[in-house]
Amino acid sequence: MTAGTAEAEQAVASAPSMKRRMFRLIIRKKLAVLALAYLLVFYFCGVFAPLIAPYDPNEQRRTVEDVRQPPSAEHLLGTDTLGRDMLSRVFYAARTTILFTVAVTITGGLFLGVGLGLVAGYRGGWVDTLIMRVGEVLSGLPTLFLLLAITAAFRTRIDDASYWLREHTWLGDDAKTLMQFTIIVGATVPFAWIGSSRIVRSLALSIREADYVVAAELYGASTWRVITRHILPGILPLFMVGLSGSMASIAGAEVTLSFLGLGITPPTPSFGNMIADGAGVRTFQATPHLLLSGALPVVLFFFAWNLLGDALVDLLDPRMHQR
């Protein structure tokens, strides 16, 4: 291929910039390492929220000297409109985000995304066409409006169902949160498999033609065996890369819906409903920490995943290895 010689040419031409290239690599790596470090902290805080939260996230203190307090030594991120400690709420909100992304990733990304992508790529034909066209339609729809419409149409039914669950099961007050959680996961999953299934499909298409797959087929290996033993291992690394790139948008769906009051509603902490409490120009002017304490951790979370995804894509880009 000409690309190889061109790369070599460029490498010779840019030999003096060796130092600069190292610098660039370090910068990119540093950004990625920083992103990774932040994500580790975020996930740690979310998973161990009950152990490290300094206060009960739902404990209200509605006296004038306790509500809307700016950050202090007692409350590192300040207190909200009901006098609850915002740092503790952030930890628990991280927990909500983690639970949501894991649920959507497993159902939408892993099962639907990899499954449908494999079937489409390996089978081909009309199955492929059907799956890809459905994905195309779903990814082209104004998702947020559809979610709004669906939740609006079913709002009363949802309330009824959660009351029923509260009365008739052991869930108690968690019933409402569980119901809301199920709904936003259910509403996000149909739109979450498309990206990963596209990656998986195109990889499956190319791996299907590889010699070792053809050989396995000639030996009489079953479709299931070919897929799980020969195609899947070649796909998973890139699937992870694709996933890291879409993590921010998956988590963003929950934050947006909760911000609009259609996802997780208070008192259960979520970044969306925390941001909603602090939004508005007047509120921001008077008590900026109401918005910032809730928004900064999750904005950094999105940014970190974006950076990590970007760095990983580059790492796997074959053109980069030739250098």
Binding site: Q10, D128, T129, G140, F145, T256, V281, F284, V299, R319
Partner: protein
Amino acid sequence: MGPGLFGYAVRRLLWAVPVLFAISVIVFWILRLAPGDPVDTILGRHYDEERAAVLRDKYGYDEPVYVQYVKYMRNLFHGDLGVSTRHQDFTVSEVIWPKIKVSTQLGAMALFITFALGIPVGVYAALARGTFLDPLTISFWLALDAVPVFVAIPILQYLFAVRLGWVRLGWEGVWSPNIIMPLLIMSLPGVAGVARFMRASVVSVMHEDYVRTARAKGLKERTVVVTHITRNALLPMITVIGLSLPGMTAGALFTEQYFGIPGIARESLAAVTAPDYDVILALVLFGSTLFVLANVLIDISYAIIDPRVRVGARRG
């Protein structure tokens, strides 16, 4: 038009028909399942049996869902989208068309800004490949992408309107300076995506033979970058327009809401909370049709540019 292009275009357009049919059935079914009798809400305090009967007959509210669907579609093809329950005495068409106009103007401008910024940024990052400027540039725009619109809006409104007093917040029409901030809020988050696509596209063409030939001919570097690299790298960017539309509608929702812009995104939020079923239905159908058609058009234009797409389509 090359061979097979017409057939491809027709096939793609025909695909849109079952797709739109499926979407309309699903959306219609979901919304009509919602509890409550629309006629009661429409007439409100002016309820009288005669008018209720006329409405029921026309829209078929008390009949099975599939009869309602047929009636709705028949009315739709006569340009009748039903009546709004939120805006008493207004039909859905009267409610939505002026707002669609405002939103389309804003959306088109925002899309233009996104691409006008994203394309040069992408070219720049690709040319700076190998230096620290490449990851730094992309990271900067990724940071803007990470801030949700509803977080950015209050902060920027406070900073530029309250603190600095550079702009006012009210709605004074599309052609007033007040529109600058909403436009930037709608367009800047998308720049990172466009830039990354453009960067990848430039990287893939910058070592092609024709680029080397152009350099070997002794053309100025500027000419090589603009006419040989950028021009060819622009072709795949058409598909990115389709990809950035959904994100843009989500951005429009919050921007219109918080800047008091009388657009369709704001109307849809109001319709959902009211709830104003026929307006929701009309909006979802209109939006889906627009998106599906946009994607079809993009595919066709892509096939015009890249003949391989048509061949691949025939085999599949």
